[in-house]
């Protein structure tokens, strides 16, 4: 398993993939966090879907990670694409047969690839956290947002919980990408299907029937990244609900894909 993980890291660290992905993470993390502060007085809002995050909210202990939390869903989409592509390309390049001849334990192959991609995702999340929080700290004075609470115990706790939530969410998105890669065996098909579902189909379904948001996989993972809404709120998904439903989606996907991967003939 560790041999597979180390081998995968050789592939994941190649400059085009690594620097390209990390470049996108830096750009979007800086963008999401900057807009929160630069557009704070804009009548069109300063957050996703035209929402306004006021100075009072940004001045709370969680204000420093508001931008990081907003970019969490986007990191999830990147992870889904990377995990799906890295898994499905073994079929399109025909390299899976090389891998299985050198490492016939198929579950070990899956586990090793998963570990390597999780490490890749972790680097992505750490980088995003550094950029988002740094941008917030730099831009807060200019937007006249108080940062006093950001550096207290509650502020540090907010950084920690947001970091953990985003890790869970990103790994969840990535796992769905890996499952799609194993099922569809084509990078283009698995990425297209995943991104179209998460960004368009789910939103359309939720727009038609709002209660569906409690059962959509992407909505659950996005809710985990943002920490969910407090219990009893009329709109939004509670954290514990998102964790349970999202976890079930991921677990079922992993079980089905692993079963197929272990049993399926490698004939391409």
């Amino acid at each position: 398993m560790w041999n597979v993980a180390f081998a995968e890291l050789r592939k994941l660290r190649r400059p085009t993939l690594f620097l390209g992905t990390m470049g996108a993470v830096v750009f979007f993390s800086a963008l999401f966090s900057s807009l929160l502060f630069l557009l704070i007085d804009s009548p069109d809002g300063n957050s996703d879907r035209g929402r306004t995050v006021s100075r009072d909210i940004l001045a709370l202990a969680t204000g420093g990670v508001q931008g990081f939390s907003s970019v969490g869903g986007f990191l999830g989409i990147i992870a889904l694409c990377v995990f799906a592509a890295q898994t499905a390309q073994e079929y399109t390049y025909g390299t899976l047969r090389n891998i299985l001849v050198r490492q016939p334990g198929r579950l070990r192959v899956l586990a090793g690839k998963f570990i390597a991609m999780k490490l890749f995702a972790l680097v992505m999340i750490i980088l995003s956290a550094i950029i988002s929080i740094s941008a917030s700290v730099l831009l807060a004075p200019r937007a006249k947002v108080s940062t006093d609470l950001w550096f207290g115990v509650d502020g540090r706790h907010a950084v920690f919980t947001t970091f953990i939530n985003i890790i869970i969410s990103v790994i969840g998105f990535g796992t769905i990408g890996m499952v799609l890669g194993l099922l569809l065996r084509s990078p283009i098909s698995s990425i297209s299907f995943g991104v179209l579902w998460l960004l368009i189909v789910e939103n359309l379904l939720i727009a038609v029937k709002n209660s569906l948001q409690d059962w959509m996989p992407g909505a659950q993972l996005a809710a985990i990244a943002s920490g969910g809404v407090p219990r009893g709120m009329a709109t939004g998904i509670e954290y514990s609900h998102a964790l349970l439903v999202g976890g079930i989606y991921v677990a079922v996907g992993v079980i089905v894909a692993s079963f197929l991967f272990v049993r399926r003939d490698v004939s391409n």
Binding site: N3, R10, L17, Y93, R97, L100, V101, D265, S267
Partner: protein
């Protein structure tokens, strides 16, 4: 310890109603080069995939290096393979691709440069795989197969895309590996190549083994052929009639009469042709080569 590198009994693979491999039974002795031949779609690659644990047989049993094919993890660390042509990551260099596979299999990456030199890719080690020619890709595939310092090497069409010099190098490499005790199981459509290097042969037709044994035994078992030509093509029919009249199987092919019969009969044939007023411009007794034997046995062409 078993003295066979590969031993399969009744090995079968069925896709729907189609038998891709049907009750294949053969053995490959240790330390030999075994050619694996058959027309396209005869089940060669499917058999190799079953031996490498990539697909599950529908029936039958097999052993590789003394271990059951049900447990590929027990023998694959001692097996090198290139199946269905080379397959690598286009964005990685040749060297990086080999290091990836070495790390995956738990082998030392120190041998990578040596292997690249061995297959003539030493100076292109740092070039990306996607910039390689077909022949270079093939060489990288062979280098990858040699990574584990294998006891058994299984190669599917290893000379595809190679120029004559490359083919000769691969032939020499396989021979030197066999001399060092490595068993080689190699499929190729270049039958003349296999004839030159193989000690042993397994021949498939429509998923069934039609011959397995020593190459020498197969060739000696074949009926010699006498090839004869007259001064012009109009005399071929008369030559054919003479041969058939003497009780030999004969046919006209490639502008000559091919007669199955012992080499000594060539003298009688020459005399009979002369008596019929034909002066032969060619009279050659010869044993059929592997290609002709292959066509004869598989019913191809």
């Amino acid at each position: 310890m078993s003295n066979t590198a590969i031993s399969v009994t009744d090995l079968s693979k069925k896709y729907g109603e189609r038998m891709a491999v049907s009750h294949a039974t053969f053995e490959v002795p240790l330390g030999t080069i075994c050619g694996f031949v058959g027309p396209n779609g005869s089940g060669k690659t499917t058999t190799m995939r079953m031996l490498l644990g990539l697909i599950t047989p529908t029936g039958g049993t097999g052993e590789i290096l003394g271990e059951s094919i049900k447990h590929p993890e027990k023998y694959l660390p001692r097996v090198g393979a290139m199946i269905e042509g080379p397959a690598f990551y286009p964005a990685l260099s040749g060297s990086e691709n080999l290091k990836y596979l070495a790390t995956l299999g738990g082998f030392s990456t120190n041998r990578v440069q040596h292997l690249l030199d061995q297959v003539g890719l030493g100076d292109r080690a740092k070039s990306k795989y996607k910039t390689y020619s077909l022949g270079m890709k093939q060489r990288l595939g062979i280098a990858a197969a040699l990574l584990p310092n294998p006891k058994l090497l299984m190669l599917d069409e290893p000379t595809n895309g190679l120029d004559p010099e490359g083919i000769q190098e691969v032939r020499a490499l396989l021979r030197s590996l066999a001399n060092d005790g490595t068993s080689v199981f190699v499929s190729s459509h270049l039958l003349s190549e296999l004839e030159l290097i193989s000690d042993y042969l397994v021949m498939l037709r429509k998923g069934e083994v039609v011959f397995t044994g020593k190459m020498m035994d197969l060739m000696l078992d074949q009926q010699p052929v006498i090839i004869a030509k007259g001064a012009n093509d109009s005399q071929l029919a008369t030559l054919l009639a003479i041969a058939e009249g003497a009780g030999h199987r004969a046919m006209i092919r490639d502008g000559a009469v091919h007669v199955e019969g012992p080499a000594e009969w060539a003298l009688d044939f020459n005399r009979a042709a002369f008596n019929a007023g034909i002066t032969l411009s060619q009279l050659t007794p010869q044993l059929p080569n592997l290609e002709e034997t292959f066509f004869e046995m598989t019913g191809e062409k």
